[in-house]
Symmetry: C2
Subunit: 212 residues, 2 copies
């Protein structure tokens, strides 16, 4: 069963396997984000070809589910609670970067220039999707700001409608406090081609142009 | 942890999670066919959000590995050996369709016009990848032809270099036997746009044009 039919064709195989167990596995895999019938079929067949690898993967899933949690202070994904960043003596407790998802912490930590700490909202305000202020941990954010004497908050949110809505809301609830509030700059990415920049980005970059 | 950062950006998150268990899971997922760092990260986070679903999936994997096998007669994926097609009284034992992979049986069974049986090679001859005649079950195919008194063999192989090589080889070893040997027609797909047909397909379609 070593033959992988490959990813050449655009279509999923047209039909069902004789095996209900394999069909069930393909259907479960299809429920994962980003996987269609074709990718799910390829992965299911891969499992049958590489039983050891499949066992390693299910063990890795179980191990992650058993060990991975979220930091109760910042919401980062961690195995120790509170996480290494929240407990690090070398990270400034008074500078807080607010992000939407635990994944958003990764590029900051890779770039390694930010010496403050994080707060993960776990979502963005979205009236259309029914995510309202009561659904996000704004109260916990306020407590954290008070407890740690936070003096600077940087909003690092997606530049989507939801990100803008959330940024505006945070500006409103944090605006009256005695702290520096800022957000990441919008503009042309480094290495970005001007000719292919979308209008909204260009307008933002122009509006916030910086002097020499 | 209900926030899915979505599939909008083209880049993978730039950095590693603080949790080694999560990193390990992402790496294992990345080894699956068709998954890059970004898709693997989305799926790993999805598992953390949907622990029940993750459990269902690992169970489905174990259930499939325990129950799914290949038919020792034809190579189809099955739970009963020999498979339902090989044992069906209504399928002609004397007409055999030769395919490369168990997946290739699916479109035939979906279309449901073919009343013969199958033989899965489990691969295609590929000198470049080191797949030689001795690596494929040609002897088992010959035995099957003899045992079942097969009178017609249809080659349903990919129209790739490997598919052509394998078809030529089968033509050579089956050519001397007293049976009808044919292969699927190459041509413009039904509903295919002539203007976008590649040269090789067009040439084949022209060469094998059919009279009215």
């Amino acid at each position: 069963m070593a033959y992988d039919p490959g990813g050449g064709g655009a279509q999923a195989p047209g039909g069902e396997f004789q095996s209900p167990a394999l069909e069930q596995l393909v259907r479960r895999l299809q429920q994962l984000p980003g996987l269609g019938r074709k990718s799910a079929t390829r992965i299911a067949l891969h499992f049958l070809n590489d039983r050891e690898g499949a066992g390693d993967l299910t063990e890795a899933v179980a191990h992650a589910l058993a060990n991975v949690t979220q930091c109760t202070r910042c919401g980062a994904i961690t195995e120790a609670d509170p996480c290494a960043i929240c407990t690090s003596a070398t990270r400034e407790a008074t500078v807080l970067c607010v992000v939407a998802s635990p994944v958003d912490i990764l590029p900051f930590e890779k770039a390694a220039f930010f010496r403050g700490r994080y707060f993960v909202l776990g979502g963005l305000l979205s009236p259309l999707d029914g995510v309202r202020a009561a659904d996000l941990p704004f109260e916990r954010l306020m407590s954290r700001i008070d407890e740690d004497g936070v003096s600077e908050v940087i909003l690092a949110l997606d530049t989507s409608v939801e990100g803008e809505t959330t940024a505006l809301y945070l500006q409103r609830i944090l605006g009256e406090r005695d702290l520096q509030l800022s957000r990441l700059a919008t503009g042309i990415p480094v290495g970005g081609a001007l000719a292919y920049t979308d209008e909204a980005t260009l307008q933002q970059a122009f509006q916030h142009r910086t002097g020499f």
